[in-house]
């Protein structure tokens, strides 16, 4: 498995688009957080953490795109075939790719949150705190980043086409669930909004989860159940079908 992981790391690290996405994912929340810390003079105690968690959410989506491309590129360029010819037990390369993408998302999200918080807190003249859910939100956004990487990977396996898979990955949370939530509200089914997977998972990354939702932990678990189902469906499909 180590050899397969090493191979997958070489694959993802030798493509320029990976580094472009990673640089943007790392730079965006850090720049916004540091500028906020340096320039805003009306920050409340938990505001810095909220800004950091909110901007890291964008990074989490970009890391989901990295994970998605890591698998759709294999299908679009045909490299999945030499991959499976070199590792006939398909679970090995598929598991290795999953491990690499989870590791990338986890390490980078943790790095962004850690550096962003330490530097932001050092720069700002306002009081900062990780109490009242702020710290939990920062941990939550790291976990959400891992979840979105898994989601990107699973959608990549299921859809196989880069543009289509990325559209679903990004438009589902940004537009799709908003529209569905609006429709549910219109028909008076507000209570069903909590069952929208991304909305449920989003509660992990905010200091004050929506009181009508499942809450931070339950919402996160609910989100990961969806992600796990999509990943499992993608893995089974890829394992059974012709490459």
């Amino acid at each position: 498995m180590i050899a397969a992981i090493r191979s997958e790391w070489i694959k993802v690290s030798t493509i320029t688009v990976t580094w472009v996405l990673v640089v943007v994912a790392v730079a965006f929340p850090l720049v916004v957080t540091i500028l906020t810390a340096a320039l805003a003079d009306d920050l409340d105690r938990g505001d810095l953490a909220d800004v950091l968690a909110g901007t890291t959410l964008v990074s989490a989506m970009l890391l989901g795109v990295v994970a998605c491309l890591s698998i759709t590129n294999e299908f679009s360029h045909g490299t999945i075939r030499p991959t499976f010819a070199a590792l006939p037990d398909r679970w090995r390369p598929l598991s290795a790719k999953l491990i690499v993408q989870v590791a990338i998302a986890l390490v980078l999200a943790a790095l962004i949150v850690g550096v962003g918080w330490v530097v932001g807190a050092a720069i700002t003249s306002r009081p900062t705190s990780l109490d009242d859910g702020a710290g939990a939100a920062l941990v939550g956004v790291v976990v959400l980043a891992v979840g979105l990487a898994l989601l990107g990977y699973g959608l990549g396996l299921l859809i196989r086409n880069s543009a289509a898979a990325i559209c679903v990955l990004l438009l589902w949370p940004l537009i799709g669930e908003g529209i569905i939530a609006g429709l549910l509200t219109v028909i008076g089914a507000d209570s069903a909004v909590r069952f929208l997977p991304y909305s449920a998972g989003f509660n992990m990354a905010v200091s004050e989860p929506d009181p009508d939702s499942f809450g931070r932990v339950a919402g996160g678990i609910y989100f990961f159940v969806w992600v796990a189902a999509i990943v499992a469906a993608g893995l089974v499909r890829t394992h059974r079908r012709d490459a």
């Binding site: 191979s7 070489i10 688009v17 030499p82 070199a86 006939p88 079908r241 012709d242």
Partner: protein, 331 residues
């Protein structure tokens, strides 16, 4: 040795490979031939576990491919030189492939040198010509120094020097005792490199055996004679049971008699000969004849000059009227 038994693969209602069985022997280059859509590539993908076969088994020296932990050391395969990410360098493409089986970077540089790509190894693959991609693909095949080599159309995109080079490489690999299976639509190339042939059509085996055996079975032989007295000698040949066809001002194409019989007749009759030679159809002719019934796409003979590429145009020698057709169907 590769042993394929009863391999069957269906895509929906289309039977792509139909109960196919054949062997590929070590120490020999085996050409894998068939018309377009005959199931060659599908067979190769099934051999490597990329396509899930409906039935049948494939074994490499007695082992299933899917049971191999590090197949690059046992079976090197190139199914399509286009299976590369264009934004990755040639060297990095080989690095990830090598890493899957624990092959080191030193070997990557070795095979790059072997295929002549060292100078462009760090260039992105999108800048490679098709011929360079074929070389890169072959480098991938050689990474683990495998005992079995499987190549699907390796000559595609190569210039004449490249084609000769890959032919020499494959023959060299076979002479080292490796099992080499290579498909190609360049029949002249297969004729030059292959020791054995496996010919399939519509997913079924048509013929397996030595190249010479295949040509003997599916091609026509005749005797070419050039003489200053063609009409008189032709009449003698006809009386001896042969058939003939005039060829040019002084030539005769003789069927039904051996070259020895024709030579002895000329000697007995005091006929001056300027040429006496045995003629045999090419592998291409034999292939087209063998697969005439299973061509999925063929040109319309009435459609004009391009129809000369079709099997019907190449199937017959000059005196087809006297030609006794070879046995049809699988051997």
């Amino acid at each position: 040795m590769i042993e394929i038994r009863g391999l069957t693969k269906r895509f929906g209602t289309v039977l792509a490979v139909d109960d196919l069985s054949f062997d590929v022997h070590p120490g020999r280059v085996t050409g894998f031939l068939g018309p377009n859509g005959s199931g060659k590539s599908t067979t190769m993908r099934c051999m490597l576990g990329l396509d899930r076969a409906e039935r049948g088994t494939v074994s490499f020296d007695g082992r299933q491919f899917t049971s191999m932990r590090t197949p690059l050391f046992e079976v090197g395969a190139l199914l399509d030189a286009g299976y590369v990410h264009p934004a990755r360098s040639g060297r990095n493409h080989l690095r990830w492939l090598a890493a899957t089986n624990g092959v080191g970077s030193a070997r990557v540089d070795e095979v790059l040198a072997l295929v002549g790509l060292t100078e462009v190894a760090k260039r992105k693959v999108r800048g490679y010509s098709l011929g360079m991609r074929q070389r890169l693909g072959l480098a991938g095949v050689l990474l683990g120094d495998p005992g079995t080599v499987i190549l699907d159309e390796p000559g595609n995109g190569l210039d004449p020097e490249g084609i000769r080079w890959i032919r020499d490489v494959l023959v060299h690999l076979a002479r080292q005792g490796r099992t080499v299976l290579v498909s190609s639509h360049l029949l002249s190339e297969i004729a030059l490199m292959a020791d054995d042939l496996v010919v399939i059509g519509r997913g079924r085996l048509i013929e397996q055996g030595a190249v010479s055996q295949f040509i003997d079975r599916y091609s026509t032989r005749w005797v070419r004679v050039r003489t200053p007295q063609p009409a008189a000698f032709a009449e003698q040949l006809r009386q001896a049971g042969g058939t003939y066809e005039p060829s040019g001002a002084d030539g005769i194409e003789v069927h039904g008699l051996t070259i020895e019989q024709v030579g002895e007749m000329a000697a007995r009759g005091g006929v001056v000969l300027h040429e006496l030679s045995s003629q045999t159809e090419s592998l291409e002719d034999a292939f087209l004849r063998a697969t005439a019934d299973v061509q999925e796409y063929r040109s319309d003979p009435a459609a004009g000059p391009s129809s000369t590429a079709g099997p019907s145009a190449a199937a017959g020698p000059p005196s087809a009227s006297s030609f006794a057709p070879p046995p049809a169907g699988p051997s």
